[in-house]
Structures are given as structure tokens and as C-alpha cells.
């Protein structure tokens, strides 16, 4: 393993810890309330003020402090990333385990459902579902998780297919272990490393998906997410001059996704020695 690889993993880990720290301390770190309009001394709304000592990253078209919005956005990122990853892992791993272990008709039905999920274009589906259910953070999370389990399910199933023929599973069956016990005590720990790897990448994809849904205008109007910031910058026609409003959320999103990828790659290297 080259020093460069471990360096990149380290960078990812440090950045992610920083995001968690900022999210926890958001109310104390942010200089202003992210949803309260700011006025200048003359009582005028501070529209699109460039970065200054008072507003380190300037203000938005609606007179909101960009830095405070950026800081509060970390909370949405973590809520969406973690909740979606847990939901996707729960659905995907269980479908994969059950389909691979029982085989036959159960497998056919579950894999047909997976094929169906693969046939649905992701962003359009999420937009339709969120619009129909009503824009809220929770509905966005549901819409994302509703489809994203598909790749985890396929990978876990193929792992289970080979695991169930192995000696230790046969030994457990001869010893009289129940299906549930074999599945969750004997097989599950063996697919766990792969499941965790997929979960780590799912965090990144889920965060990007939430940003995309928010950018299309279907985000939770009562929350400040990075995608929402970009949406408002775009629809208010401010992207031509207000770089301080468009660059920070986009760069933060990108860095977060890159950090997750780097940490995931590092984890893959550690969990799968053949890749070294």
C-alpha cells in the first residue's frame, strides 16, 4: 500500500469528523439564525451582500447569512446520509439474505422486484414521490431509500449463494440450527463487510440524491440544506454574481462525497486484503 492511499483515507476521515463536529455544534458555531432575514442599519434587507467581516460568506438574495446556512446544512447531510444508509442496509441486506438463502420461488419473486426497482429511473421517481407525498425531509428520505436498496440486495444475494454451500453452513444445519439462526448468526457476519462497504457508498449517493431533489425545488421548505441553497440561488437568478452563495454549498457537497469515497476505498482495502 502506498503512502498516498493511506493519506487520502486519512483526509477523508478528518473531513468527515469535522462535518460531524460542525453538525453537533451548529447552533453555537453559526453567527446568525440561518432562517432569519438580516437588515442593515438603515432597515434595508441585506440583499446579496458580498463577504465582509459581519457576514464572512456574504448574504443571500433573501438577506440570509450564507455561512450560517452552510453550517446548518451539515445536519441535513448527516441526517439524510445516516438514515438512508441504515434503511437501505436493512432492506437491501435482508432481501439479499432471504433471496440467496431460500432460493427457488422466493428468490425469483424478490429478484424480479429488484429488477423492477432497477427499471425505475431514480431521480424522476424520487421527484414524483416527494411531490405526491408533500415535500419534507422525511419524505425525501423515504423516496431515496425506496429504490436505493436494489444494488445492495443483488450483491448480498450473490455472496449468500456461495456461502450457503460452504461447510460451516452445512455443519450448522446438521447440528439442527433453524433457518433464522443459520441466516443471521452464521451467514450474516460473513456478508457484513460487504454490506458495510455498500452502506458507506450509499451515504454519499443518498446525500447527492437529497441535494438533487432539493435543487429541483422539492426539498423541505423549512430546512436549510446545501441543495436547497443552490436551488434558491438558481431560481432567484443570483448565480451570475453571487459566487459566495453558490460556491460554498457546492464545494462542501463535493468534498463530503469525495471524503466518503476515500474512506470507503480505504475500508475496502483493509477488509479485502486481495486488493492490496
Amino acid at each position: 500500500m502506498s503512502p498516498f492511499a493511506s493519506w487520502s483515507g486519512g483526509f477523508g476521515a478528518i473531513f468527515l469528523s469535522l462535518v460531524v463536529l460542525i453538525a453537533v455544534l451548529a447552533p453555537w458555531l453559526s453567527p446568525y439564525d440561518p432562517l432569519v432575514n438580516n437588515f442593515d442599519a438603515a432597515g434595508q434587507l441585506r440583499r446579496l451582500a458580498p463577504p465582509s467581516a459581519a457576514h464572512l460568506l456574504g448574504t443571500t438574495y433573501y438577506g440570509l447569512d450564507v455561512l450560517s446556512q452552510l453550517i446548518h446544512g451539515t445536519r441535513i447531510v448527516l441526517i439524510v446520509g445516516i438514515t438512508c444508509a441504515v434503511l437501505i442496509a436493512l432492506i437491501g441486506t435482508n432481501i439479499g439474505l432471504i433471496a440467496g438463502y431460500y432460493g427457488g420461488r422466493v428468490d425469483t419473486v424478490l429478484m424480479r422486484a429488484t429488477d423492477l426497482a432497477f427499471g425505475v429511473p431514480f431521480i424522476p421517481f424520487a421527484v414524483v414521490l416527494v411531490a405526491l407525498l408533500g415535500p419534507s425531509l422525511w419524505n425525501t428520505i423515504i423516496a431515496i431509500s425506496f429504490l436505493m436498496w436494489r444494488s445492495t440486495a443483488r450483491v448480498i444475494r450473490s455472496q449468500v449463494l456461495s456461502l450457503r454451500e460452504r461447510g460451516f453452513v452445512k455443519a450448522a444445519r446438521i447440528a439442527g440450527a433453524s433457518d433464522m439462526r443459520i441466516l443471521y448468526v452464521h451467514i450474516f457476519p460473513n456478508v457484513l463487510p460487504m454490506a458495510l462497504l455498500y452502506v458507506s457508498f450509499d451515504i454519499a449517493w443518498a446525500v447527492l440524491a437529497e441535494a438533487s431533489i432539493s435543487f429541483l425545488g422539492f426539498g423541505d421548505p423549512h430546512q436549510t440544506s446545501w441543495g436547497q441553497m443552490l436551488y434558491l440561488a438558481y431560481v432567484s437568478g443570483s448565480i451570475r454574481q453571487a459566487w459566495w452563495w453558490t460556491v460554498p454549498p457546492g464545494a462542501a457537497l463535493s468534498l463530503f462525497v469525495i471524503a466518503v469515497f476515500l474512506v470507503g476505498r480505504e475500508y475496502e482495502r483493509l477488509a479485502n486484503p486481495r486488493l492490496r
Binding site: G119, P121, R240, V257
Partner: protein
């Protein structure tokens, strides 16, 4: 299994998937509170009796399954219903937008694959060198960037600041060519294409690139490559041979990529105001124009499913083991 039998079976699977998608979508859109009489005419403005008459006229008083059968039957004849918003048949609205989407999507996919294969080959050939490791990380970065943000940055820089390219749309109204090259037939569309295609390529290039790179690393140590080296082929000829062999997995992926491209396409079209099917879908959902939303969504899903079928068929044709 004979190929035609395999093909028939896959095609039947696809047909079932499409019908299930259609049912799923139908149910999804029926979850919306109210029915077309309230959505089209607003609430409370119409006397109850008149609403009832309309329901009977439009068949909304019949059982849901009958309504679905009517809908599916109409769909087969190309009748996608009437748009609430445009008050015109959905097919008339969707069709030109679908063509516009293809105008944007085709260059994105083709350029992504060509660049991905070229750069992926180069990186795979230099496997183990420091430049390869840095290159692999650099190639992954654009994939992590939100495509709409790339679009915003490109617009701010090259359209607003430098004024090299238009700020969006597909054609300029009243475009008067000034020099000879501006009179070329597709000049106006082409200059509108540059920025969205650049943004699309940046994000879609990474996957074919990584697949080509991995395949090339595997191919490099195959016997035929040793043979090629022993025969005294130049480095360039060797690399070309390896590139061609490693290209097969990329080819498989390309059809899947077109399917996934619809997601990114929606975002691209919205950022760059491209009058395509993705932007139409987003607008129709916001305007509660459900017949149009339903049609665009189903068309995109049908495209993904059909492309997956084509990949399966190509695979089954090339590799008989798959047909088992």
C-alpha cells in the same frame, strides 16, 4: 438453450416488468388527493351535479381496474391522454421534447465513453506508477460533484462572466448569423449544447473510465498480450490491442449508462433550461399536470428497461453460457 428461446424469455420478462411499472405508476398517481375534476377545475367552483356529470363523462365513476385497463389500452395506441395545463394531447407535447432530450443526451454519452476509454486505457497501461494513482483519484473527483453545481459554475464563468456561450435554452429566438460559420445549419443549437454537454461528460465519464482501466489491467497479463510482446509489436500496437479487448465491459455498461443518464439528464435540463423531457417532467409535477408527468415518467422507465433488455440480448448472443 437456443438464442431465440432465450431472447423470447427475456422479452417476456421485460414486458411483465413494463406492465408492473405501469400499474405501480398508476397507483402512485392515484394517491394524490382529489381527481381530475378538482385538479382541472379548481375546488368548489363547480356545482356538485356538474362535477358528477364530468366524472361520468370521463369514466371516473367506474372501478379503478376498469380505468386502468382503459388507460393501458389507450397507451398502446399512442394516446397518452390530455394535458391539464396545455389542454392538448400529451403525445403532442412529449414527442418534440423527447427528441430534444436525445439531442443533448447522445453527445454526452458518446463523448463520455470515448474519453473514458482513452483515459482509462492510458491509466491502466501505467498501472503502479505514481501518476496512475493520482490520475485515478482525479478521475473520480468529477463523479462526486453534483452535476447541477458543475452547471451553475460553468454558467457563471462561461456564460455570464466571459459571455462565450448562451445562458441556457436550445435555440435563440431571432438569431441572426453574422459570419459564414454562424450560418451553418446547426450552429445555434451547437453553441447552446457546449456547456450542458461539458457538465454531463464531466460527471458521466468516470464510470466508463474506471471500468476500462480495471479491464485493461486484467487484460495486460493475458497470454495473448505476452504473445504480442514476443512478436515484437510496438508499444502503441500493444496498447491498441489491449484497449480493444478491454472495451467489451464498457460496451455492456454503456447501455446501462444511458438508462442512468436520465437521472442526470433531468438535472442538466433544469440547470440549462433545455426544453427536454426531464425538465418537462419536473415542470409538470410542480404544475400538477399529472397526465404529462405520468407519460414522461413512464417513457423514461420504459427506456431504461428496454436498454437493459438489449444488453441482456447482446450478452446472451455473445456468450452462450448466459442463456442457461
Amino acid at each position: 438453450m437456443a438464442f431465440w428461446l432465450y431472447a423470447a424469455r427475456r422479452a417476456a420478462h421485460t414486458a411483465v416488468t413494463l406492465v408492473l411499472l405501469l400499474v405501480f405508476m398508476y397507483v402512485l398517481f392515484r394517491l394524490v388527493p382529489g381527481d381530475p375534476t378538482t385538479i382541472m377545475l379548481g375546488t368548489g367552483e363547480l356545482p356538485f351535479e356538474a362535477q358528477q356529470r364530468l366524472r361520468e363523462l370521463w369514466g371516473l365513476d367506474r372501478p379503478q381496474w376498469q380505468q386502468f385497463v382503459t388507460y393501458a389500452g389507450n397507451l398502446l395506441t399512442g394516446d397518452l391522454g390530455m394535458s391539464f395545463y396545455f389542454r392538448r394531447p400529451v403525445i403532442e407535447i412529449v414527442w418534440p421534447m423527447l427528441l430534444n432530450t436525445l439531442v443533448l443526451m447522445t453527445p454526452v454519452v458518446v463523448i463520455s465513453i470515448v474519453l473514458g476509454v482513452v483515459i482509462g486505457t492510458w491509466l491502466g497501461w501505467r498501472r503502479g506508477e505514481r501518476i496512475e494513482e493520482i490520475g485515478a483519484i482525479l478521475a473520480l473527483i468529477p463523479r462526486a460533484l453534483p452535476v447541477f453545481w458543475i452547471g451553475i459554475v460553468l454558467l457563471a464563468l462561461f456564460a455570464y462572466e466571459l459571455r462565450w456561450f448562451p445562458i441556457g435554452g436550445m435555440r435563440q429566438a431571432f438569431f441572426f448569423p453574422e459570419t459564414w460559420y454562424q450560418e451553418l445549419p446547426f450552429f445555434d443549437v451547437a453553441r447552446h449544447l457546449v456547456l450542458p454537454v461539458a457538465a454531463g461528460v464531466l460527471t458521466s465519464m468516470a464510470d466508463p473510465l474506471m471500468i476500462q482501466r480495471t479491464a485493461l489491467i486484467e487484460v495486460k497479463h493475458e497470454d495473448f498480450m505476452t504473445h504480442a510482446r514476443a512478436r515484437g509489436l510496438t508499444e502503441r500496437a500493444q496498447r491498441r490491442l489491449a484497449r480493444r479487448t478491454a472495451f467489451l465491459p464498457v460496451l455492456t455498461y454503456s447501455a446501462i449508462m444511458v438508462g442512468f443518464a436520465f437521472g442526470g439528464q433531468v438535472l442538466l435540463e433544469v440547470v440549462f433550461n433545455w426544453p427536454g423531457i426531464g425538465r418537462l417532467m419536473v415542470n409538470s409535477v410542480s404544475q400538477r399536470d399529472y397526465p404529462v408527468a405520468q407519460a414522461t415518467f413512464f417513457l423514461m422507465a420504459a427506456a431504461v428497461v428496454t436498454l437493459n433488455l438489449l444488453v441482456d440480448l447482446a450478452y446472451g448472443w455473445l456468450d452462450p453460457r448466459i442463456r442457461q
